[in-house]
Subunit: 365 residues, 2 copies
Amino acid sequence: MNPTLTTRMANLRARMAETGTDLVAIGPSSHMRYMADLSPHGDERPVMLLVSQDYAGFLMPALNVDSSRQHTDLPFFAWADADGPDAALEQLLEATSVSRISPSVVIDETMRADFALLLLDALPGAKRRFTQDTVGYLRSRKDEAEYKALKASHLLNDRAMAAGFAALKAGVTEIEIAAVINGFYKANGATPEFCSVCFGPNGAFPHHHTGATRLQHGDAVLIDTGARIGGYPSDMTRVGYFGAKPEGFDAVHDVLDRAVEAALAAVKPGVKALEIDKAARDVITAAGYGPNFLHRTGHGLGIDIHEAPYITGASETVLDEGMVFSIEPGIYLAGRFGLRLEEIVIIRNGKAEIFSEMPRHAVGA
Amino acid sequence: MNPTLTTRMANLRARMAETGTDLVAIGPSSHMRYMADLSPHGDERPVMLLVSQDYAGFLMPALNVDSSRQHTDLPFFAWADADGPDAALEQLLEATSVSRISPSVVIDETMRADFALLLLDALPGAKRRFTQDTVGYLRSRKDEAEYKALKASHLLNDRAMAAGFAALKAGVTEIEIAAVINGFYKANGATPEFCSVCFGPNGAFPHHHTGATRLQHGDAVLIDTGARIGGYPSDMTRVGYFGAKPEGFDAVHDVLDRAVEAALAAVKPGVKALEIDKAARDVITAAGYGPNFLHRTGHGLGIDIHEAPYITGASETVLDEGMVFSIEPGIYLAGRFGLRLEEIVIIRNGKAEIFSEMPRHAVGA
């Protein structure tokens, strides 16, 4: 096992001890990639990594044993299609020495329901939690290598965003602008992760599907895009307009920019995530747009584009050095336009540091 | 609701009555696409469709309400990030009139563990099953429109496969051949789903990751590829060689072709899936390669590339008219090569009909 993975496994066991966790069960997910650098073929065949204080091993479909063995030294409990996974899982549970009397089990919340229930059925009376205070706790505190990877990913994204806005012209479609951005990613060795381009009233849907809408004079433009390079993704939203701003654009943009600044100013270790949400939301509510801010202020970002910590009005998560998350207030005016400004920040040296170097002002085209 | 969806909902309720099911819970998956033509934004926010005899409605994150509303007329029980989903789920459960005393609940096996456990925690004592005899039962019996879509998808795949083999030359990498095939898909309006290209000994890993290996004289070549067009995917494996066949290639190829033929001959309504697996496996075992056939004989294919029915040695599933699945025996010789021949078939007019029109002989290059 490489030194990073050895450190992570030791850190996980320390968290398990602190939280009274007997067993951690990780599916074929980003959690597995983080803990074991393994991204096994994901299908309906149960695969999971079980970790106890004394043992760590995989339940593994037999036909994936050879290819997975190239990536990890941990033991495999293989099962063949003709037999099903039950016996292999039982042997793996034996190896972990986990108590069969109401063990405290952490379940990877992202694993398939049938994988999770296979395990829970094998551990009657288990007290279950998800990963937030074990694997999630570790993943939300980025190390220096992760900081550098995220920085590089976001600097590339700045250039992709600029290329997208530079391609705006009368009659161009949302899909064509997304293709420009995705082409930029690929030409620079990055893998496109998502690219939402919204013209005019489409921006009022926070999860609009980029489509065949053509750009017209007077449209607001919203681009929310990100790509992966060096294993880590980027994420950013910027807005602009074509020809002229729709009525009310500047006022909304100004409110959002102040909301971002208020949230940034509130970020420091020891503060609860809900305070960051409140800082942004208060600015928007005071401006009269409270009902138009339809979503939380942000989400964590690391191996996954959405991960802990979530910046919501209900989140008691206490922010800590090394945490990375978005600050992305939005105001959505149905039938008119929607704007959102999104920065990804890391808590570093006790305050928020923005990864992107692109200003947040509206891009005119 | 369009006529197809109305028919599917009525069919689902008939299956629920036959199987004594009180509630079906469907996640943001292919099951949801099949039942409601909706593919909602999939993230960590719980979303599910609940169906009882009297009612059908969605638990839906508030920020996806507007974009989802464009695709379905079914009612939404929306929840905001700041509140969480519990209260909305409770209201939706009330609307379904589901019994709170040990209801019989079907869970979409592919939904996230946290979604499934959110529902199960709200229904203490629920008797749970997965979808195999409700939604899965319906999805595994294709209608005429699905037959035509699958046929068209596979005829395109034949041409993509031919393009891939035609591009073989000394020193080309696996990734480059995959790029040729994926480029062909895109140029013809299809979306690449997967493309596994294996040169030489790499073919001995059933789930080899297509990589930088360069083609050499005497290499076996295995290509397993598929794309989606018209909503339905294709899937096919063919093999070939470059310059000369490695020793033993012809014998292994012949065994596999006979195994495919034996399985095809065994397919008819009323036969169990395990009998198809046995028909293929017996040929391989008789030839002395039993231990080298590492996986099941096949998987169903429809909206998903892997779905019911699974053709395994343990599957008691009774085959029926309209079912679609792969027959794909393989023989893997570590350090030398691996071959697999895969056809997708539909049971039509009482027997197996192959979608592809490409012969299974080895392609020399």
